[in-house]
């Protein structure tokens, strides 16, 4: 803008100076030649008067006087009688000179002749004197062109001065014009006080700015909403473009991929994690195929599901969902193991039953032995029923679907009942059972608590030594009620401590048959405890005995 104003200003100055100088020169020149002619006329009148009074002698006197002009006297025949510049011998007849011829005819003649050297011209004025001779006066001046040429230096000087001035003015003016535009507050376009001509523009900017602000806000909100939703997803979410650049990645995905949030959007996913499984899934999806794969990294299992986003038959991007299925896999494994174990445990008594029954069916049993075989079948069947009851109880506890109500109850009384009930078994093993402690109340399902204590005591008696003791104690503390069952039995090795609550786990595999149990006792204890928000802890020394604590929270 500044440059444009400056250049047009310079052009204007140039044209103006050139035009005005040339016109001025022309006008001045005309004025000058007019003056000269008048002066020559006067001179002619003087000389004519001089000649009239003094005769040709007068001419000799003016020889030096009129150096500017050339004075010639010519007779009527054209012969030169006098010339103040050139010797007479050099001059020829002047009769046919236009001004002389004119003067001879009309009494007065004028002519302009360009001289041999360009750039000057000569004016001739001839008058016929009363005696018939012709007086001619000639004066040489510069031509118009010469006058113009003469004025060029001054023209340049004027031009330079004015140009300097113009540049200065142009700069100054441009600055003044531009300043309000530069100082426009585009944040608030309508509040500016500036040229009226700018108002439509400012209004338009104002409208567009509002529109852009609104759109940015909408986009921002959309983005924030999207991020808020995806950030809190438990599943890992990874969105890629069609070249594998990361467009979005949430917190869970970063955690699963063990990566940091990328500094910039659009970097290749390999920068997050270079595992082959991710590559495989991502590349397949980029090619336009959905994939679902299971992968194991260290001890964790992940399920990856990649879906291409296809528009007009072209893959525009890929969505990858990463799920941590470690827990699920583990539960799945436990379930598989459990059903395998149950089947095995059920098969053992069933094989026995089936064997005895077959013998009976084929009448291979002596009549007097039938009661023994029937008793064995009954025994095994009872064992199976116990096992199935235990399995059902466990699955109920697992699902937290116990069809019994919680109520307030006396834990000590319940422990005493169990002690009495298990007396026959204890006597049989020669073990002394004692129950003592404070009267303490807890909230729970009586049938379940009864089963918990029974299972603990049962174990304590079964895995005891002859003449050993089992002491059940109930103590009420500040934080809750503590039930402890201590025995003087075989104890549990350290490496098995963690595992004894697992289903079907037995420390001493060889003794499982003669003690009878189902292998689910302690697992049930643990489940019942957790159903009542109680904690189970275990202290044990091999060969000396085991003490199991169950701490119940105080009833609300």
């Amino acid at each position: 803008m500044r440059r444009k104003i400056l250049s047009s200003m310079i052009l204007l100055v140039f044209v103006t100076v050139l035009l005005s100088t040339s016109l001025l020169t022309l006008v001045m020149y005309r004025q000058l030649s007019e003056d000269m002619r008048r002066e020559m006329n006067n001179q002619a009148v003087y000389i004519a008067a001089g000649l009239a009074t003094e005769g040709t002698v007068y001419l000799a006197g003016i020889k030096g006087e009129h150096e500017d002009s050339r004075i010639t006297l010519i007779d009527s025949a054209g012969e030169v009688l006098f010339d103040n510049r050139i010797a007479l011998s050099e001059l020829d007849n002047h009769k046919d000179r236009p001004e002389v011829a004119e003067a001879l005819a009309t009494g007065r003649g004028e002519a302009v002749r360009m001289s041999e050297t360009v750039g000057s011209q000569t004016y001739y004025l001839a008058i016929r004197l009363p005696d018939g001779t012709i007086l001619r006066i000639a004066s040489t001046t510069g031509s118009v062109l010469a006058a113009l040429a003469n004025s060029i230096p001054i023209l340049i000087l004027i031009f330079t001065v004015i140009l300097g001035l113009a540049v200065f003015m142009a700069k100054f003016q441009t600055k003044r014009i531009v300043a309000p535009i530069n100082n426009l507050d585009l944040e608030n376009p309508t509040e500016n006080e500036t040229y009226d001509e700018l108002s439509p523009l400012l209004l338009r900017i104002y409208n567009q700015k509002n529109c852009i602000d609104r759109q940015i806000k909408e986009l921002q909100q959309g983005k924030e909403q999207f991020e808020k939703i995806t950030e809190n997803m438990a599943e890992g979410l990874l969105i890629l473009d069609d070249t594998g650049g990361v467009l979005s990645v949430n917190k869970s995905a970063l955690l699963f991929l063990k990566a940091k949030r990328p500094a910039q959007i659009g970097r290749h996913y390999s920068n997050l994690n270079r595992s082959i499984w991710l590559q495989k899934v991502a590349e397949t999806a980029i090619k336009g195929q959905s994939v679902e794969e299971l992968f194991t990294s260290n001890l964790n299992h992940y399920q990856l599901r990649a879906t291409p986003i296809i528009e007009d038959g072209e893959t525009k991007g890929v969505i990858i969902l990463i799920l941590d299925v470690t827990e699920k896999q583990k539960a799945e494994m436990i379930r598989r193991e459990f059903s395998a174990n149950v089947s095995h445990e059920l098969k053992t008594p069933l094989t026995a039953i089936s064997g005895f029954a077959e013998l009976l069916k084929n009448s291979l049993v002596k009549r007097e032995d039938i009661p023994i075989f029937s008793a064995k079948i009954y025994e095994e069947a009872t064992r199976m029923i116990h096992l199935i009851e235990d399995v059902i109880r466990l699955s109920q506890l697992d699902e937290k679907k116990v069809p019994l109500a919680m109520e307030k109850m006396n834990l000590l009384e319940m422990a005493k009942n169990v002690g009495v009930r298990l007396l026959p078994l204890a006597d049989q093993k020669g073990v002394l059972v004692s129950v003592k402690g404070d009267t303490a109340y807890i909230k729970g399902v009586p049938q379940l608590i009864d089963e918990l204590i029974t299972n603990l005591c049962d174990n304590a008696i079964k895995y005891n030594q002859a003449q050993g003791t089992v002491s059940i104690e109930v103590t009420e503390g500040k934080e809750g009620v503590l039930l402890s069952v201590a025995d003087t039995g075989i104890g549990i090795p350290v490496e098995d401590k963690e595992r004894i609550f697992e289903r079907f786990y037995r420390v001493d595999k060889s003794r499982s048959k003669d003690t009878g149990g189902t292998g689910l006792g302690l697992s049930i204890v643990k489940h019942i405890a957790s159903y009542h928000n109680a904690k189970v802890e275990i202290e044990s020394t091999v060969g000396k005995g085991t003490k199991i604590f169950v701490s119940f929270p105080k009833p609300a």
Partner: protein, 220 residues
């Protein structure tokens, strides 16, 4: 033109990272195969090594294309030439891992003469070094690259330990000699993998700083 150059550089970066992932897979499988005497994993490692070779060729031609067509200078030139050198070392790591797997296949019929102790530790250390060197490239992390160079002595010391253990074993029972030699080879391969990881790390350092241990400061 510049834009396509940047795209190609990013592509080179991606390919290198993916090759790194492949190399890691190869060595991880080889180690699993070795420790569990798992022939499936050994075969997997040998297959992955072929992919590593393939990837090397691909990256090599990309590097040459970049050098010839774009005539990079300064940092870009360093990055490309470092990549060109790095892939050679990565490919060598893949080879060594495959060689270990071949020994595992060969030894799979008989149990090991002794419970492997130092060799798995070596394996863990070298895997760590390879991981770190590739991470250093991915993250442009000078400190991490320097850590790899420093870690080499650990693996070297472990190799000497394995060697003396095996010598003791042969002293006690000469019949173990044949397998002891194979195990020594395995240990040597791990030691070499460690060296290649150091090479990679040195090229990463060169790409970042312009200084390589063996060639002096870069003329820039």
């Amino acid at each position: 033109m510049r834009n396509s150059f940047d795209t190609q550089l990013e592509q080179l970066n991606t390919q290198l990272i993916q090759m790194g992932g492949l190399v890691e897979l190869t060595i991880n499988s080889a180690v699993k195969a070795l420790i569990d005497q798992d022939t499936e994993q050994a075969k997997k490692a040998i297959l992955a090594e072929q992919e590593v070779d393939h990837k090397e060729k691909e990256i090599e031609s990309l590097c040459l294309k970049l050098l010839l067509q774009q005539q990079p200078v300064a940092r870009d030139l360093r990055r490309i030439s470092a990549a060109l050198k790095m892939i050679t070392d990565m490919e060598r790591i893949g080879d060594q891992a495959a060689s270990i797997s071949e020994i595992v296949l060969y030894l799979s019929d008989a149990p090991y003469i002794k419970k492997l102790e130092t060799i798995p530790q070596m394996a863990v250390e070298t895997i760590k070094m390879v991981n770190m060197s590739i991470d250093a490239y991915v993250k442009n992390d000078l400190a991490l690259a320097q850590a790899v160079v420093a870690a080499d002595t650990i693996v070297d010391d472990m190799f000497l330990l394995v060697k003396s253990e095996l010598i003791d074993l042969i002293h006690k029972d000469a019949t173990t000699g044949s397998q002891a030699m194979d195990l020594l080879m395995v240990a040597k391969y791990f030691e070499r993998i460690g060296d290649h990881a150091v090479n990679i790390a040195e090229w990463v350092i060169y790409s970042i700083t312009g200084i390589h241990k063996n060639i002096g400061p870069d003329m820039e």
